[in-house]
């Protein structure tokens, strides 16, 4: 299946249909330049890989996309509109979901509740309507719960649905985090090193899951990852950055041939 994706004559996604435009982003922490004018576009409906050696600025870029950092310069446009004027908590509502590099689950809550929190941006009830548990609140709750159970089935989390996530194995927690992100029904899903800490089989399952998410749920995926074989097998397009700058862009094959990328990973031949 990988080969079909990679060698299909027309690349997946319409080049004119971009979902995300990152233009000339720069982030400085004091004197340190974490990102130095990075620009790239993400086409709708693809898996876009984002690679780079340690400290290249991947996570910084990621945090700009979920509005945890404010870039010093440049613009980020999602579906044609800048996101830089919206507060972080609105990202989920406009359709940008994310997972975290080192698990950021709600440890004391059950798997079911964690995934239901994911549906927060897709529900409306407030303190007053909840306190009185108005009929429409019950209906909203039932819908959220139904959607969460659908994801629990999808991710095969049935056996642990009522367990606190804090005590679950790492790989399972990663799946819960994916479920939580999917519950927000994102159009763009940001995955920050999802393969970190997973074993070989789990990485393969993750690769299949990412492709399923793209194909079954029409979700565009931006994947930051160190695990090269995973990135190369699931990405339709890849952007490589190093020292805060873009050093290459293209299909996995093109990136594998790209001299700048090879140098960044293996060092420049003297």
């Amino acid at each position: 299946m990988d080969s079909v994706t990679n060698f299909s004559p027309t690349p997946r996604g319409d080049e004119n249909d971009t979902i995300l435009e990152v233009s000339d982003i720069a982030v400085r922490f004091g004197g340190i330049i974490a990102l130095d004018g990075v620009s790239f576009n993400v086409r709708r409906g693809i898996v876009q890989g984002l690679i780079g050696p340690n400290g290249a600025g991947k996570t910084t870029l990621f945090n700009c996309l979920s509005r945890l950092y404010i870039p010093n310069q440049g613009d980020i446009r999602f579906q044609g509109k800048t996101i830089l004027n919206s507060p972080p908590h609105q990202m989920a509502e406009i359709g940008i979901g994310r997972t975290f590099q080192n698990l950021a689950l709600f440890k004391t809550m059950t798997v079911l509740d964690n995934i239901m929190v994911g549906g927060h941006a897709r529900s409306r009830s407030d303190f007053v309507s909840n306190a009185f548990r108005l009929p429409w609140v019950s209906r909203e709750e039932n819908n959220l719960r139904e959607a969460a159970w659908e994801l629990i089935d999808y991710l095969e989390l049935n056996d642990v649905a009522y367990q606190q996530v804090g005590g679950l194995p790492f790989g399972t927690q990663k799946r819960v985090e994916m479920g939580r992100a999917l519950a927000a029904e994102p159009t763009l899903l940001l995955l920050d090193e999802p393969a970190g800490g997973l074993n070989h089989d789990e990485v393969n399952e993750l690769g299949d899951l990412i492709k399923q998410v793209r194909d079954d749920r029409d979700i565009t995926v931006l994947l930051v990852e160190h695990h090269m074989s995973l990135v190369m097998s699931v990405s339709d397009q890849i952007v490589a950055i190093d020292f805060g700058r873009k050093i290459g862009e293209g299909t996995p094959e093109e990136i594998q041939q790209n001299q700048n990328v090879i140098n960044a990973y293996l060092g420049t031949p003297e």
Binding site: S66, H89, F106, T108, V117, H120, R133
Partner: protein, 347 residues
Amino acid sequence: MTVEKMSVGNRIDPATKLKIMNIELPQWRAFMIVAGLALAVILPFIVEGFSVFQLTQVMVYAIAVLGLNLLTGFNGQFSLGHSAFYALGAYTTAIMIDQYEITYYWTIIPAGIICFVGGFLFGLPALRLDGLYLALATFALAVATPQLLRYEHFEGFTGGVQGLDVFKPDSPVEFLNADQWLYFFVLFSGILLIIGAWNLVRGRTGRAMIAIRDNPIAARSMGINTAAYKSLTFGVSGFYTGIAGALGAIVAEFVAPDSFTFFLSVWFLVGMVVGGLASIPAAIMGGFFIVYGQNFSEEVVINLFGDDPSKKALIWVFYGAILIFTVYVVPNGVAGLVRRWVARFAR
């Protein structure tokens, strides 16, 4: 391969079912609630007058602890200042009754609303404070409140050092005396507030509150407006504690600055921790501990060492020992103990 797993329609929380010695107890929660309610209704008829007063006080403190628990247990924000909200509620009721001659039951909701506003406004700057710093800021609130109530230029309103008298309402029904009537009035208010709190924490708002406590950054990424939720939770917490204060003023028939010192905040904190964090039934247990914990220590010390005045100091030593025992042996409070017990028998 995973068909077996996937086909399960088993979406029932195992904790709703209990199995003890092969006897299934599917409705054990409903059973506990009904039993608790029945006991609450019968108790004031089988105990003496002063005990009825104490039981009323238990419920009042339970409401205050519930308010604090919504803030600290569920939302993770510390407060040593809840005596201030309790005082604000108590004075609102006392002033309305004493100076404007408003019937007592009309004063409860206004007291709650004023404390909601107070809590919300205090919650806004508190957004910038975490953990110990928030504890310190709320401590300042607790320390300042009695002084403000005592302040001579407010005396016309607050009654200054003397405080204000609140007349105990007569019972409107024949078969209840005034104490019993007040007990049922407070019980009824408490039940409504518990239902409201339960609805809050089991729904979208409760999940957001807990999510913020567990991981604020992830909560924000999930679309939760953390600032709004934290300050509104502060407001709701103030609302509950303010209503407790309003009811407490009627029960005590009196308000004065010295009833609302920083120590009252500490009692709420103790009640919350002993009862159990992030649990609603725990608030009732906390209320019992605040009222009876001290008496219990006294009884035990007298039984062990005899009724000797020189042994009085041991009462507090014993009380302290109970607290240390609680945090070491039942770190999640009485409610946590029950939860663990349920988890063992749930199948």
